[in-house]
Symmetry: C2
Subunit: 314 residues, 2 copies
Amino acid sequence: MNLELVILGCHSAIPSINRNPTSQFLTIHSRQFLIDCGEGTQVRLRENGIGLGRINHILISHLHGDHFFGLTPLLSSLHLLGRNKEIHIYGPHGLKDIINLQMKAQGSWLSYPLIFHELDFTKKSQLYEDDKIIVHSFPVKHRIACCGFLFEEKALPRNIIGEKIKELSIPFLDIKGIKNGNDWEDENGKTHNNHSLTTKAPESLSYAFCTDTLPLENLQDYVYNPSLLYHEATFTNKHKDRAKQTHHSTAEQAANIAKGIKAGNLILGHFSTRYLDYSDFLLESKPIFPKVYLAKDGTKYCIKHQNPKSLEIE
Amino acid sequence: MNLELVILGCHSAIPSINRNPTSQFLTIHSRQFLIDCGEGTQVRLRENGIGLGRINHILISHLHGDHFFGLTPLLSSLHLLGRNKEIHIYGPHGLKDIINLQMKAQGSWLSYPLIFHELDFTKKSQLYEDDKIIVHSFPVKHRIACCGFLFEEKALPRNIIGEKIKELSIPFLDIKGIKNGNDWEDENGKTHNNHSLTTKAPESLSYAFCTDTLPLENLQDYVYNPSLLYHEATFTNKHKDRAKQTHHSTAEQAANIAKGIKAGNLILGHFSTRYLDYSDFLLESKPIFPKVYLAKDGTKYCIKHQNPKSLEIE
């Protein structure tokens, strides 16, 4: 039930050797999401031991090539592998036509249903919900229409006290109700207050993905206190003007954003390929937001319920 | 003036770790061509030390994704790098729309002119000609419209005998004419027969690219005696039925084709990713056509005028 984020690519614009364009594989409450899909993502998934069969939901933030050029190739490979289970794509208007045109040119159609959900760039919108998690998109400010994404665990059940189950011989079938906050009546008709049987629920984990964008003054209207924020820092302050001009952020701006929305942890990414040394990104951000980390291709970042404030790096 | 072929990718269908889809970079008489452009080709070019600025002519054999998914990403990167020199694309009908749609979605158009030449799948057709080389396409037999390509040096000038230049004090300006077969008149009015001044011209080099296709009985109508033939061998005889069904060739069939058109050398490629060991490809082909080689990603194959029958591997 940990929150796990595998960075498949964290570089902007032009792919290069060991500098892959944006893609991430998120696991939250055992649900899995592919976020953005730059060129070569299918090979990055294999390199990171993530079987292509695990892809069921793909979110595409916007239609700059470094965020979607790998999507049709991935969908095409899943077709060749004989997949028949549906895939949900959450992406901008126009993406469906791009996929369709390329598949049509190949003289084939996909072996599985593709269910397309068009993003709304005007407001925070629910993309997905089940009994455990909820996913929203929210508009960010880029040169073309672009969304960030917020993945949240719903309120978790309270922890039942193990000794109480034994002591009171609580039947297995009653445990779910107690975890959900119900009081419990024993076989003698005595009511046990829920708080005598449980301790408080673990903190729900959440992840916000926020690229490509200018620093958003109103981000807290969409995201507040996430366990983990991935925010773009395409540039350092040295290229602050370039950041503004291209609708991107600097490391310092990203740190201020993380502080403003009271993020638990911050990962910076979407680095311009002009940088060979990333130390300035940390130097600019750490004084403002100490729990900052630099994204690295092929790295897994993990937050556990036992220690929800801490980010572990594998 | 050597013929150099860098294999950027020689695997079919589904890209995997160290198994890249089709792309090749050909140098013939100092002219350079990118042939097919599977996903990730721009990074393969960098890995092989081929600057993206060297790309001026791109040929796309057909619209299966493993042969063109890397094209729009490559063109997009050249745009981001600020290119302004034109690029010629030789490809199937429909490819232009695929590029246009994706560029339009990005909200930008290319910074350089894209000159599109549509392939003719009905007959052998000239794609390019200058004073030194000529390039043709020719139809092959695949599930969708597909072309092979033939690159040929034109007849080369005769070799002038170095000692004669010195002995007869032949002026520099007269040398080109002598190399082209002219007799030469010295300052005393004496005519020197061309054959007394020159030795025969080096053999012109040529390269034929032939994938994806069933073995073509009529290939010799399009290609005869090429210095080098790259022919697909997606399968071994073990999967001969599958080859026929999917309109591909086996290693044995490719060897027979090379023998039939009297190729100088044969490179097999477009291997199905089902094979982990390629020894059967050689076992099947070498008894039929001894000068056979297996394509390998990131390898350069070279034929020199001094030794036009020999293929050197770097």
